[in-house]
């Protein structure tokens, strides 16, 4: 267990170094001067130069990189140029909407896909189960930005059931928050459930021919018990791995969905930061996403230990 934690910690460091370095240099390629962007096109050249100096943009690139890396090691991610506040604080202010969307959609998709797949396994000849099989392939094929617009067209514009924007904090104002969350969550759930159903079905099919199921049936367990006690726990493992590796895709989807449904989350923040050339903020958000990725995968590893006695013992 400690070995696992240490390995994850090592991965965390490696991933952060690579992602941080990559983003640092990619961002520096962006044409346009952040100092000029702040002061506007009419600013005097001397003012622009002074601001560049104060932002540390005048030194050679490697010097900027070392300064930045040193500051990050001290927990200082710099000051956002547009928000005039420490990056960590700005990120913290925008994290709740993104986390709400990510966690809720993942949990809903997880249970939905387990339900659908178990049903398909128990009654594979059921026409509805077979239709769902085709639908999950279709769900994988739908561009998320396009379903978002379709849902807005049908449920906001035509039927007027749910608003197309207007995010509220779920914990302080649930009455307004829930209807506004329905459409963005639906989009995320469609894509994720489709993926999870395909993953889970494949692993379920790998379990079904194994001999231990015959033992379980011979000792008199009902088909339902065989399914819930023996097949599902084993078949869930690849799905849980998928949860971890799907995280990056989920965040990518959330970025687009936040911009369509005007949700003030990390994606919204990032899009704004990119358009205003807010270097420190872009770096802060991307590093933060990378940290989240490693943490999610750590959670995945820990849940292995809970689900699989073999891992627990070793």
């Amino acid at each position: 267990m400690t070995g696992l934690l240490l390995r994850r910690l090592r991965d965390l460091v490696i991933i952060l170094v690579i992602v941080g370095t990559m983003m640092f240099f990619v961002i520096r390629l962006i044409p346009g001067d952040p100092a000029q962007a702040i002061l506007g096109p009419t600013a005097r050249p001397s003012d622009v130069d002074a601001l560049r100096e104060s932002m540390g943009l005048n030194g050679p690139l490697w010097e900027q990189y070392l300064t930045w890396a040193g500051n990050v090691l001290h927990g200082d991610f710099g000051t956002s140029i547009t928000y005039h506040a420490p990056v960590l604080g700005v990120v913290a202010d925008h994290i709740l909407p993104t986390l709400t969307l990510a966690v809720l959609s993942t949990v809903i998709s997880f249970f939905l896909s387990v339900a659908i797949t178990s049903w398909q396994a128990v009654s594979p000849r059921n026409p509805v189960a077979r239709a769902l099989d085709r639908l999950s392939a279709l769900g994988m094929a739908m561009p998320d930005f396009w379903i978002s617009l379709m849902l807005v067209l049908v449920f906001s514009v035509t039927l007027r059931w749910f608003p197309s924007s207007g995010y509220e904090n779920l914990f302080t104002d649930p009455a307004t928050a829930v209807p506004a969350l329905v459409l963005p969550l639906t989009v995320l759930v469609i894509g994720q459930t489709a993926l999870f159903v395909l993953t889970l079905r494949e692993s379920l099919l790998g379990e079904l021919p194994l001999a231990y199921l015959r033992t379980a049936r011979v000792k008199g367990l009902s088909e339902r018990q065989v399914m819930t006690k023996h097949v599902l726990p084993n078949a869930l493992m690849p799905l849980i791995t998928q949860l971890g590796s799907n995280f990056a895709m989920l965040v990518g989807g959330i970025v687009i969905i936040e911009s369509i449904f005007v949700v003030p989350g990390l994606g919204h923040l990032l899009m704004g930061a990119v358009s205003t050339r807010d270097f420190p903020l872009i770096q802060g958000v991307t590093l933060f996403v990378a940290v989240l990725f490693v943490l999610v995968n750590l959670l995945v590893d820990l849940s292995y230990a809970l689900l699989d006695p073999k891992v627990r013992v070793s």
């Binding site: 044409p31 279709l138 561009p143 617009l149 807005v152 494949e202 790998g206 049936r217 990056a248 990378a290």
Partner: protein, 306 residues
């Protein structure tokens, strides 16, 4: 473990014969049908623009017309024919996705082969790939597109960079399974150089899986390409792509929903077809892949007493 399991059952580089091909196709009616439909779409995209009105011919009087006989998919906010733009946009969208797929599949194949076969390189390469994958693709693509300026080439570079690790990982796991085989050991004992073993013995065994990966990749490339165009990071508006047609139609979602529906359905159909082709090909190539009909067979095999 799972790799070893697949190795036991998957066919090892059988000589392709016409009889076998015919059998494979008879067994995979889905593969034949989906490939045929996709071929028709590709053909239409290549041929039809010669017979349709110009994509840039504006006609302000007839703007936002609903679908009719003259304009089967209606007209957009400039009075341009949506069908013509859709077909012509297909050239950009399909062509770019194909190009991205080829580039990413090639780099992924090379990295996967090297990292699966040379253990020393593996440790470094896979760490880098992990870091790469931890990154939301769209963010990296956004950063690259903005830093290098939005153009076809930027998008090509960005999406190649994004999709490379996914191919590399799949190829690597297959190479790992093959590298432990007896015939690789035999080749090594006979004094063959490692690079030659990689090219002559490993590569041909990986190729079928790589082809499947190419198809799956092209579906993913279409989706991300659509999203990039939609966000305005792909090919710029006067040239139609399916993604930027949706972005342009978004402002007229209420008055002219066909502007958004038509390109969206087209993307969906293409991705759907590619996914189906990919999964049918996988069943032919990879013994681990199973389908719902197999679930039925497995279920019927269960002891009658239960």
């Amino acid at each position: 473990m799972s790799v070893a399991l697949a190795e036991k059952t998957s066919p090892v580089r059988e000589k392709p014969s016409s009889g076998r091909a015919a059998r494979v196709f008879r067994r995979n009616r889905m593969l034949v049908i989906t490939s045929a439909v996709l071929a028709v779409i590709v053909l239409a995209v290549i041929v039809l623009p010669f017979f349709l009105p110009s994509v840039s011919a504006t006609d302000p009087v007839n703007r936002l017309l609903p679908p009719s006989a003259a304009h089967p998919l209606g007209t957009d906010s400039f009075g341009r024919d949506v069908l013509a733009r859709l077909v012509s946009g297909g050239r950009a969208s399909l062509g770019l996705s194909a190009l991205i797929t080829l580039c990413a599949a090639f780099t992924g194949l090379v990295i996967g082969l090297i990292s699966g076969f040379f253990r020393a390189a593996d440790a470094v390469l896979m760490r880098v790939m992990d870091a790469w994958m931890s990154f939301p693709a769209i963010i990296l693509a956004m950063a690259l597109a903005i830093s290098l300026g939005a153009s076809i080439w930027t998008e090509l570079i960005a999406l190649t960079v994004i999709f490379t690790p996914f191919t590399a990982r799949v190829i690597r796991s297959r190479v790992l399974g093959i590298a432990g085989r007896a015939y690789i050991g035999a080749a090594r004992v006979s004094g063959m150089s490692r690079w030659k073993i990689l090219v002559v013995h490993v590569f041909p065994n990986v190729l079928p899986l790589a082809l499947v990966q190419v198809v799956i990749l092209s579906a993913a490339a279409m989706l991300v390409d659509g999203a990039m165009s939609f966000l305005g990071l792909g090919i710029a508006p006067p040239t139609p792509t399916w993604g930027n047609m949706i972005a342009e139609g978004r402002s007229y979602l209420v008055q002219a929903p066909w502007l958004v529906i038509a390109p969206g359905v087209t993307i969906m159909v293409c991705v759907f077809l590619l996914n189906l082709i990919g999964s049918s090909l996988r069943i032919a190539v990879d013994a681990r892949a199973r389908t719902l009909s197999e679930m039925q067979r497995l279920r019927t095999r269960r002891p009658s007493g239960s």
